[in-house]
């Protein structure tokens, strides 16, 4: 293949050309072309779902792109082949710490290729020597004999980087030449993240190409040379970090922008408006009523730090933030699912005991979880019992031991909710598996669509469902809200968050970085707060 050099000062080393990748109905990458140089730290940035992680994994051979080419030093890589990428010197440091915590650091590092003595037993001395050679380049303080699980997340991350630095010669490959870091700091403390930044710079100075997938602004400016922005799976721009400011970067991540006379960047809310129109939402609806849900200084070790919120009847409070900011965790804590949560939750006048789901449900809180397959539906039970599950005890004759079900009352509730929330099902005894994804989601929301629910916590209520159903879900939610329901909405989809919310509270690293109202509710506003590094260390 012919490599076309874009400009003269470009010592291009790795070239991604026209790469596309589709997962089901989601186009994760479409026709992305990026060029990486040797000796640079090159960041990939974008919102949740922009495709930055997918691109990093495609380079490392973990995902096989549908179309496009990836060439290293002029030589084309076989797509989707980890072995080929490894042999060429491409390594990846994963977002998740996927290691065996019960084994020693040395064993983890040599797991793929344990050194053996002549007798066929493991040669521990050789193994430890090899591991020390790798780890001590980065941090001489790490004892490679220790079980990995006893190390702090930061040290573990360093071990993982060390593993990626291994010379491929023993496995017939090249020494590392490109390293992909996939959200490397997501589980690290600030000090650890700083040390990681230093390591990344050192690696680049040794001539390696470092591809740094992240959504943290601070890190981009402190340790990266160039930054490529992706949006909705498309390439937006590659910038020199020295020539760009935070606002421009945010702008690239979000999309088309207009600059107001005051110089303030205003997001074009047309998409949100289009959504509102499509779902028949009137942004000027009735003013909200009295406060229904009040949560004060909700904390949970490691995830949430003193978050307070209030929601009124007939109001939607949006919760914005990036993946890992603690949005789902906040809903779980309010609902009583988090066994370590502290703080106070009040519904109406009633103060609820924390960590008690049944008390929360009794007080009128409902939760639609993010993952309907694992947290939401009972696939062996029918639509009817899926809907009535939380209500069944209340409807039953409880004088009878174990509670005698009242089928008629149950069916009344089921029919009312199936109808109210337009769940399309052959019969109420059909299994959820027989329903389409959109109808499964509607089924899950319909569970809480009764007078007994005063506050509904929605976690990604339209994940993985088609546009038509989405609009219908928005309309139905808004209708319920106009009927006096209070909603707390967590969504990673910016247009959805902007279209449905009356106010938006933004979280970053488990801390509330601000609440936006009225005209402040823009993508820029949300993203600026979401990428803010929190001062309060957890």
């Amino acid at each position: 293949m012919s490599v076309t050099l874009a400009d003269s000062n470009n010592n291009e080393f790795l070239r991604v050309e026209g790469v596309s990748k589709r997962f089901g109905i989601t186009q994760a990458l479409s026709d992305v072309s990026v060029s990486f140089r040797s000796g640079e730290v090159h960041a990939l940035m974008g919102e949740n779902g922009a495709g930055k992680s997918t691109l990093g994994k495609a380079i490392a051979g973990l995902h096989k792109p549908d179309t496009g080419t990836i060439a290293l030093d002029g030589k084309q890589l076989r797509l989707g082949s980890i072995d080929d990428a490894f042999a060429a010197g491409v390594r990846i440091v994963h977002q998740e710490l996927a290691q065996c915590p019960n084994l020693s650091v040395a064993e983890n590092l040599c797991l793929h290729d344990l050194p053996c003595s002549k007798l066929g037993t493991v040669d521990f001395d050789e193994m430890i020597k090899r591991a020390q050679d790798l780890v001590h380049r980065l941090d001489p303080a790490i004892d490679v004999r220790k079980p990995l699980g006893e190390l702090s997340p930061g040290k573990r991350q360093i071990c993982q980087i060390a593993a990626s630095l291994e010379d491929g010669a023993r496995r017939g490959g090249s020494s590392p030449r490109v390293i992909v870091f996939d959200e490397p700091t997501s589980s690290l403390s600030i000090a650890e993240a700083d040390r990681l930044g230093e390591i990344v710079r050192e690696l680049a100075e040794q001539g390696l190409t470092v591809i740094y997938v992240s959504h943290r602004m601070g890190e981009i400016f402190s340790c990266c040379d160039r930054v490529t922005v992706l949006r909705d799976g498309r390439f937006v721009a590659t910038n020199n970090v020295s020539e760009i400011d935070e606002a421009t970067l945010v702008e690239q991540m979000i999309g088309k922008r207009i600059v107001t006379p005051t110089g303030k960047i205003e997001s074009e809310t047309s998409e949100a408006e289009a959504l509102q129109e499509l779902s028949g939402i009137d942004s000027a609806h009735a003013p909200p009523g009295s406060v229904v849900l009040k949560a004060e200084s909700i904390s949970s070790p490691g995830t949430l730090h003193k978050i307070s919120l209030e929601v009124r009847a007939g109001e939607v409070l949006g919760v914005g933030g990036l993946v890992g900011a603690g949005r789902s965790e906040l809903l779980a804590a309010i609902f009583g699912l988090d066994s370590k949560a502290t703080g106070t939750v009040t519904v109406g006048q009633r103060s609820l005991p924390m960590r008690d789901v049944r008390a929360a449900i009794k007080a009128g809180i409902g939760l639609v979880p993010e993952d309907r397959r694992h947290e939401g539906l009972f696939f062996q039970l029918g639509v009817d019992e899926n809907i009535v599950a939380p209500r069944m005890p209340a409807l039953a004759n409880r004088k009878f031991p174990f509670g005698l079900r009242r089928r008629q009352a149950e069916m009344g509730v089921v029919n009312q909710r199936v109808e109210k929330f337009h769940v399309k099902t052959a019969s109420t005894s059909s299994k959820p598996g027989e329903l389409s994804g959109g109808n499964q989601q509607k089924l899950l929301i319909a569970r809480w669509m009764g007078k007994e629910t005063k506050v509904l916590l929605l976690d990604e209520p339209t994940r993985g469902i088609d546009v038509g159903t989405k609009a219908e879900v928005y309309k139905l939610i808004r209708k319920a809200v106009d009927g006096g329901l209070a909603v707390v909405l967590v969504s990673s989809e910016m247009p959805e968050l902007l279209a449905l919310s009356d106010r938006i509270m933004v979280l970053a690293d488990g801390v509330c970085t601000g609440t936006l109202e009225g005209d402040e509710m823009t993508q820029t506003g949300v993203l600026t707060l979401a990428t803010q590094e929190s001062a309060a260390a957890l």
Binding site: V357, E375, Q380, L381, L404, S429, R447
Partner: protein
């Protein structure tokens, strides 16, 4: 699904009928001897074909249609065909007849009785397995409940107690001991958050150990007759139907509890998706403890039936019953992954297990092969179940 479950149970009935037919045909016949004790004063009277009486004690003629034995308790008439023969010389009448090995009344009663012991526990085990749990200690609970029940009947109730005392006390003590053991299992599984396999493996050994300590290896017997032949082994119309009646009652109550009560449905919900159950506000821990307690209670009830039927508690009673009980529920269609199973299936599964057991005896297979066949049957049942799940249409 309800139709599917129905199909599952219809399938089991079919299997049962099939095994029965095979055993009836292939099992062959056997000579069965019988002996009727005749009192000193008895007279044996022959009848001729025309109905007239012959001479007492005289040699019967070929065309004789029957004979009468008159004893102290009355006169009984016996048919004289089917190779009956008799010798009325020694204060007893000996008979010999050819019977089908499987369809013989005694054999069927035996199968029904053994199936009842297993089925009563299998109904409880089904609930545990629907919950995606397991209880390996059922056999030990059964043995312990029987032993303590036997102590109570022997030492507290007394020999000549009436039905109204012995039966409630016997059943009550057995069930109480069983329920307590089951509740301990449940409380530890929930409270200590340890997998039920481990907890019940431990309690299986511990409960069995308690049995040996308490019994000192001796069996405990000598109960009031009102508990044994007066109730659990009462003879009605020539058979002993009480164990089967208890089994059917337990099966019916099991079907009702699992389908018509809130806790019953919560069992399916927790077993199908524990996380979702938590999110729906279902008291997961409480449901689990209730189910393990109920299984213990049913093991106790089964032990009471066993006590009444056999009249003694042996220290190794219920040994290896966990295998049979779990096999019965799995053959009955319960999924070890949780969320699926039925009480009726468990009862039918127990009958299948017992028929296999009985069939091996009837077909003359060495008892040593018993466990091998049982193991293979479990694996086949699970494989069929999984194949069915894979073939089932998914939305």
């Amino acid at each position: 699904m309800r139709r599917l479950a129905g199909a599952q149970e219809a399938g089991l009935v079919l299997v049962i009928v099939l095994i029965g037919v095979i055993l009836a045909i292939r099992g062959g016949t056997k000579q069965k001897q019988f002996r009727i004790e005749v009192a000193q004063s008895a007279t044996v009277v022959e009848y001729y074909a025309d109905g007239t009486e012959g001479e007492p004690g005289a040699r019967p003629l070929p065309q004789v249609a029957g004979w009468n034995v008159t004893t102290d308790s009355g006169t009984e008439t016996y048919a004289k065909n089917n190779g009956y023969s008799y010798n009325a010389g020694q204060n007893a009448v000996f008979g010999r007849k050819t019977v089908n090995k499987f369809l013989d009344q005694e054999n069927l009663v035996l199968v029904a009785k053994d199936a009842s012991f297993i089925a009563i526990m299998a109904v409880g085990m089904t609930a545990v397995i629907i919950l995606a749990g397991i209880d390996l200690s059922v056999g030990a609970i059964y043995g312990l409940a029987a032993l303590i029940g036997a102590f109570a009947l022997k030492n507290v109730v007394g020999d000549d107690a009436g039905l109204l005392v012995s039966v409630p006390v016997g059943i009550g003590v057995c069930c109480l001991v069983g329920a307590a053991c089951g509740a301990a299992n449940g409380a530890m599984i929930v409270g200590l958050r340890v997998h039920p396999f481990v907890i019940t493996l431990g309690t299986m050994a511990a409960y069995r150990g308690i049995i040996f300590v308490l019994s000192k290896g001796q069996s405990v017997g000598q109960f009031p007759e009102s508990f044994t032949s007066g109730f659990f082994k009462a003879e009605i119309a020539g058979v002993y139907p009480v164990p089967v009646i208890v089994m059917l009652l337990v099966g019916a109550v099991g079907v009702f509890l699992l389908s018509k009560t809130v806790v019953g449905r919560q069992v399916y919900a927790v077993g199908g998706n524990e996380t979702a159950a938590k999110y729906a506000g279902i008291p997961v821990g409480r449901v689990k403890i209730i189910v393990y307690t109920l299984l213990g209670l049913l093991a106790g009830l089964s032990a009471a039936v066993y006590l009444g039927y056999l009249g003694a508690a042996e220290p190794n009673a219920g040994m290896a019953y966990e295998l049979k009980v779990i096999a019965a529920t799995v053959i009955g269609g319960a999924s070890l992954m949780g969320g699926r199973g039925s009480a009726m299936g468990a009862v039918l599964g127990a009958i299948v297990i017992q028929l296999i057991d009985n069939g091996m005896i009837i077909l003359g297979v060495d008892q040593a092969y018993n466990q091998i066949v049982m193991g293979v049957a479990i694996i086949i049942a699970v494989v069929i179940d999984q194949a069915k799940t894979r073939l089932a249409p998914k939305g």
